[in-house]
Symmetry: C2
């Protein structure tokens, strides 16, 4: 099967002009394009027209057009001969607060040509959204933040082009998804009001913009689709995630969780969508977000403990000597500790069961996960009670958010037809372990679907599917943002979730009771 071309690439043949049909070059091309696209109108940059007359006459009035669309508005982003040796390419961007990922696509075949990721250079200014928004308020601060991310993107585009042999001027479409604050910094728009009541972004729907107006060094005619946001705390990255998951096309309700810098949750189906973000209240602070530790070589990602012998079976990424433990490893570890009776239902280490793996340092209990002689650092890798307490709060917060969102629409969590887990978290987490500690609901395992960097994949979809561009708007318009009310009722549910797996064990039939 030959790969299908992107809907954004069209070869059109124009009727050559005659004395009786003296329509101008541009108007002739646009008439043909409108017919080809079923479009009411197509925009063209004046500078693109400068190449048109000669190209038309050279190619016998058959040309390849790169187009792009924002709602009903089409725009011509490039022209070339139909058999041009150079491809028409696109770049998808996931603009993360911490990490920025890019994917380069050949639009003539929709093939992925390469990927690249880099740390957001704004990290030097501030680790989180809040610090950067405050910096943007200082003189020249916004411009500095904008230059950092635009510069970073241009370097990355250069890098990915170099490794794939594509030229930056071949890139005629860019699609970018990020949270609301990062998107504002990317657009050099004041993020000031995002964090001030009543929390108003400058823009909800940036739409399709000229790459050159944004300083992005690709084709001068390229357009950038910037994913819309729903509000200050529900960004385009999550809309891209929904798009990629397909949640919004399902008949039965499903749920999407993306744990990045925030924990974000969307519940819905083809008729409705409800979303909330985890920066919702004090119960979550330093909670769920802490699970997003970066996985890397030597990091423990899986742990098994034999309930009888209490022997640890440790797996590291790349199967190297262990250097530390990441979020998914901690969840595995906690689940295994619980199932082995080494922590109790409150997550407290049980000295009798932990045996010589237990140490007390400065009055705090530690559990040795990897003894010093097996560790790559030369020191024992331990987890202390405070880590476990933090995990319990995180998992309780996560479960409570899920429960609250479901309750809002009168749904039980076990009615979910699918549970999409995005981000690094989703790729490495073992749902069985997350269920065992009561972080995720006790669904049949096959309903859990890891979807990876769904923001990047959603952004890429917009470059390869015309429907995707329509769906973005439909998702945005159909999503209700749920302001998480951290009231007494929420706190009651949170308290009930602070046990392993839950105060109401009947909700977790698959988890053995100790």
């Amino acid at each position: 099967m030959s790969p299908s071309p992107s809907p954004w690439i069209r070869c059109v043949a124009l009727p050559p002009p005659t004395l009786k049909d003296n329509t101008a070059d541009m108007d002739r091309l646009l008439a043909a394009l409108k017919k080809e696209l079923g479009a009411e109108a197509v925009d063209v940059d004046l500078d693109l027209l400068k190449h048109l007359p000669l190209l038309l006459r050279k190619t016998d009035y058959r040309i390849r057009c790169s187009v792009f669309r924002d709602r009903r508005r089409w725009v011509l982003t490039g022209i070339d001969a139909c058999d041009a040796p150079r491809p028409a390419a696109g770049i998808a961007v996931d603009l993360g607060t911490t990490r920025v990922a890019l994917q380069l696509l050949d639009l003539t075949s929709c093939r992925v040509l390469g990927e690249h990721a880099f740390d957001n250079p704004q990290l030097g200014i501030g680790p989180d959204v809040l610090a950067r928004i405050h910096h943007a308020d200082s003189p020249g601060g916004l411009q500095e933040l904008n230059h950092l991310i635009i510069g970073g993107l241009n370097t990355a585009v250069g890098e990915i082009c170099r490794t794939t042999g594509i030229e930056a001027r071949d890139i005629c479409a860019v699609s970018l998804a990020g949270n609301t604050a990062m998107t504002h910094l990317f657009l050099s728009l004041e993020p000031r009001w995002i964090i001030r009541e009543p929390y108003i972004p400058v823009v909800n729907r940036p739409g399709v913009l000229k790459a050159s107006d944004l300083g992005i060094q690709v084709s001068p005619f390229a357009r950038v689709l910037v994913f819309p946001n729903i509000g200050s705390y529900f960004g385009g990255d999550l809309i891209a995630g929904i798009l990629f998951s397909g949640l919004h096309r399902r008949k039965e309700p499903a749920l999407l969780v993306d744990v990045g810098t925030n924990a974000e949750v969307v519940l819905g189906n083809q008729d409705w969508l409800i979303g909330c973000a985890g920066a919702a209240g004090p119960a979550l602070e330093g909670g769920v977000t802490r699970m997003g530790m970066l996985a890397g070589p030597g990091v423990i990602d899986r742990v098994a403990i034999d309930p009888a012998s209490r022997r640890f079976d440790i797996h590291t990424i790349g199967e190297m000597s262990p250097i530390g433990i990441c979020g998914s490893g901690v969840i595995d570890l906690a689940a295994q500790l619980f199932l082995a009776g080494m922590i109790d239902i409150r997550g407290k280490l049980v000295p009798a069961a932990c045996g010589d793996r237990l140490r007390v340092v400065e009055g705090l209990r530690h559990l040795v996960v990897v003894p010093a002689e097996q560790s790559a650092t030369g020191k024992a890798l331990t987890i202390h009670q405070a880590d476990l307490d933090s995990l319990i709060r995180s998992k309780a917060a996560m479960y409570t958010i899920l429960e609250t969102v479901a309750m809002t629409v009168g749904l039980n969590l076990d009615e979910l037809g699918a549970f999409y887990v995005g981000g690094t978290f989703g790729c490495f987490i073992n749902p069985r372990s997350a269920i065992a500690i009561g972080m995720l609901p006790d669904l049949p395992l096959e309903r859990y679907v890891p979807i990876g960097n769904s923001s990047l994949q959603g952004a890429a979809l917009a470059l390869t599917s015309e429907n995707a561009v329509d769906e973005i708007d439909r998702i945005r318009d159909r999503t209700t943002y749920l302001e998480l009310n951290v009231n007494q009722e929420f706190m009651n549910r949170f308290s009930a979730a602070k046990f392993i797996p839950h105060t109401d064990v009947g909700r977790f039939p698959s988890v053995p009771t100790s």
Copy 2:
């Protein structure tokens, strides 16, 4: 009566945001604007958004918006406080091959603030369209021509701003009408194919463009409406002329003649329009175009000759001593010479009647219009037989074109409800004289309407009337371009028209037969 504001200036009041209504600033503004304008969508430049958040909060969410429209597409071109001290202004441009005229308008009141005109700086490259198109083919030639006209316009804008106290950044809308070749040079588009069979412009409908993309130094958010053309020989200037005349809204057929570098003729009513341009054939070369001599102080614009005494009564512009004679003066002179029996029906000087005003220099007959002692130049102002012969050819060409266009739709010229005469020609010509020599048809004088620089006035209309913008497209789409076929039939009509007033004197009942 207070002057009405332009439809392009709107004060809108937005509902201030709340926690329950957290729509972003831009989306809030666009929602209000869409309602105010009845628009489907409104475009905004990203850079304009940078000022929006603070302005909204300063003005309590009441702002003055400058907008502009191209068909169904609205665009926001400026924002300010509703009681801002600075006006929102617009510039109308008539981009002539020889002369460029500007009008500055206050869009908040639709008042004309000032006018300015300058010689097209491309005159240094070539006097006519053809010479400039050839120059554009040479390396760097197109760019040079483009820079000349853009530079000239920017200087003129600076000048008109200086004299009126407006700042260039207050100008948020520009409307420009010119012939097809001049428009291409203004847009820096290859004019090469305009003069080569099958005579194809690069663009028929440039639409609404960003002033900054064109190098026009006004507000960075300003838009330029460039009048569309119908083909290489029927430009936006004539469409602007039709718009201003109102020809296209009349029930009974009317005719518009504009004599600038070319003679252009449009016949039509509210249902149909048919146009042709005078660069049609050898019969016209050096003919009608010669009538467009510039009027100025001391130039003879009116002549009366007493038929009995043959005394000349000369009128000059500014009532100064005469220095020469312009087109309208020549027509008056010829009519009076004919009525006084000093030239015959072929336009030849009659020695017996001319008396001592006749001189023969190098075998050619001259008529002294102003003796040396009354002339400002110290030399006699004369008209020689060749000038008169040329006038006869011009007037015959004009009449033949009018007759041909009317014949094409089965109309008699005396059925015209109105006859609009544009350009300098229209301002100064005495219709009675033009009728007397058979240049214009013998209509009741009140049907002749001089409309001045109808291209400039049409361009200005687009800045003050929303309907005008729609009408431009309707005029364009409804006009049929008539290729003047200089065949035997045309030449027969032309020969018949080379008599004063015409071979068929019955067509000119108001002209006394000699």
